[in-house]
Symmetry: C2
Subunit: 388 residues, 2 copies
């Protein structure tokens, strides 16, 4: 495992030590990136160790060459299936529902909780649109930590069950994730909580960046033409972009990076609005509402990073209505055998749209992220189906 | 991939051809085992191909040396995490919730649907306690087949949602899986359905046997002292035992086989009753009832095989009440970060019991199967928690 050089602010470049707990940059409140000395991982021999060493974890810890040196608090996260579509020749589905707790959030929390434990933290707190809270509850339980979670009161029932079963302290809030975030910010100092909010600590990105390593490895150390990513907080996309940067530094991959497609729900589309207006950051999206609860983030903390990445990659931002998203969920259920999450299904809806508009061609190789298992949305989907 | 020699009745030894669709033995109605020419897979060089060849699927198809030659209809099933307990030094959890459709049923259905497609079958039917039906719906959708599924009307909502989303024809029955099975048997000929009922076609065992290969490989090609298996239909246990037999023939593993522990719910314990009475088969369990819906199988078709295996292995049968099972589910949620299915939690409850009785010692290495993700039981668990 590589040594960490320092943490580096993603906005102003300020650096800080990684040997003590850190949240955001004290100068500009930007999110920190972890910067490593990656010299030992350079070249194809190091890359080969990832793929051929045995026994090696088949989870995300296979990428230990580029992850912080820490004892993993692991529940088996990562190395999820990359499934070929049965209908579209060059379409892959990255099936993140196979993770512990049923979503990609497990990757970020596995890493962040591992590091928090390493740094001696005993109490963690976070606002959540649902799945990050469930994942934090699970990993905190595995690490023997106290977890305090604040979620909108209308999150899927599965997310509430997770918090209860894992012994977390759950507060349901009559509001959105932004309201939950305010409560954490107000109470954390008095309570002695470490703030695990999205992009307010440096290691959730490090866990999620493994999606970028995996998709490139699973395609044979090649980039696809485009990556579709359902974008609530957007850390998955930010993490993957960091992975691509690292992999190029290491000589593990080359060629043009994929177009990054940020997908949002039409009922909560702050990035879409900012992108179309040519802005560098978003503003609070009014009356945010969508059944894709993970996309209900009215002002992502990392908006400036997401917008940068989309533009630098030559990608775009797409928002789809709940009806369009549910049509895609039904279509892929019936014709591909996948039970997507609503967030995941937004990728498929956006793909159809960008083929229709000609932004992408049918022979462009693309990876569509299904960020979570549809099994976490039984109540939401059964309502839409008119069951029960 | 090896060639199939023939199908062999597990009760009377009668053989039949595998080149046409087959259900059960026409002489005695016993279940068929698939018998292969395994000569090409003998020895450690062949075993090494499983572990070191790259690229090789990391799913259950990594065991192609011992599976039927067929084009897989795959959704990414198998090669699930083997997680060490955080509290008990020699306890492993085999986390089958990471499978597509969230349970181990995916393994059996992936193989059975692949073979059905290979043999030209277009319409499949099955009774189900819930998860097998959901898995059949998913794989049939992926294969472009028509699926007819019959389930008790009080199965978890997630199982109903799966059938609807995957376009299966679902009938909810006011009764148990045995009543559902009767309907399939009565209607299948007129409707042209191929009967995919548990142990009434030969290939679901072949998919599930990969759990046996995996657990041995994940322990470093060694047997544990005991394997705990939640036993409704019991095919997982039957499949694993067949795997152990094959692996020994191949020279891939040696030493005493694990004690096989069949775990049941006290509200539906036909195998427990038969085992304690010294019988070779079970009788219909009256008024079967348990919140572990997958264990609600009042007379397993393969009862004679399960009882044989438990006895041959020096194992035992344990049944636990719903309260004991839910206590184990809560305990592992709070202290290990796992959201077990109720069926899976019965393994943990049974482990505690067999340590208490002295049947096993704390330093015996054991594998506890969590057969599915707790996320499929949100409605059931939230009721128990008094939520919603």
């Amino acid at each position: 495992m590589p040594s960490i050089k320092h943490l580096e602010c993603s906005r102003c470049g300020h650096t800080a030590s990684a040997s003590v707990p850190q949240n955001v940059c004290p100068q500009c409140a930007g999110s920190y990136y972890v910067r490593y000395d990656l010299s030992a991982a350079k070249g194809l021999a190091a890359r080969d160790r990832v793929t051929v060493d045995y026994p090696r974890s088949t989870g995300m810890w296979r990428y230990r060459e580029v992850l912080p040196e820490v004892t993993p608090v692991s529940l088996g996260e990562g190395w999820t299936p990359m499934l070929p579509s049965r209908r579209y020749g060059k379409v892959w589905v990255k099936e993140e529902g196979a993770n512990p707790t049923g979503t990609f959030k497990a990757r970020g929390m596995a890493m962040a909780i591992s590091m928090a434990k390493h740094l001696g933290i005993r109490k963690v707190a976070a606002p959540s649109a649902g799945n990050a809270g469930g994942a934090m509850a699970a990993y905190a339980a595995a690490a023997g930590m106290e977890a305090h979670i604040f979620m909108p009161k209308d999150v899927p029932l599965s997310n509430q069950v997770e918090c209860h079963i894992h012994g977390a302290h759950l507060t349901l809030v009559d509001g959105l994730i932004s309201d939950c975030g305010r409560i954490v910010a107000e109470r954390k100092d008095a309570e002695g909580w470490f703030d695990m909010s999205t992009l307010k600590e440096p290691y959730r990105i490090e866990g999620k960046k493994t999606m970028g390593y995996e998709l490139v490895e699973q395609l044979g150390w090649r980039y696809p033409a485009a990556v579709f990513y359902p974008t609530g907080g957007g850390v998955g996309m930010i993490g993957m972009w960091k992975a691509f940067e690292e992999m190029e530094e290491l000589g593990w991959v080359s060629g043009p990076r994929p177009k990054m497609i940020a997908v949002q729900a039409a009922g909560c589309a702050p990035i879409t609005v900012a992108y179309e207006a040519g802005e560098k950051a978003s503003v609070m999206y009014p009356n945010a509402q969508t059944f894709a609860s993970g996309l209900r983030v009215p002002k992502p903390y990392g908006d400036y990073l997401i917008l940068d990445i989309v533009r630098a990659s030559g990608g775009t931002v797409v928002s789809r209505t709940d009806d369009q998203i549910f049509d895609a969920l039904s279509d892929w259920g019936r014709n591909e055998g996948l039970l997507l999450s609503p967030e995941g299904a937004s990728s498929m809806a956006a793909y159809d749209y960008l083929i229709e508009t000609g932004f992408l061609k049918p022979d462009d190789e693309v990876v569509l992220f299904n960020t979570g298992s549809g099994n976490k949305y039984t109540d939401v989907i059964s309502q839409r189906l008119g069951l029960g």
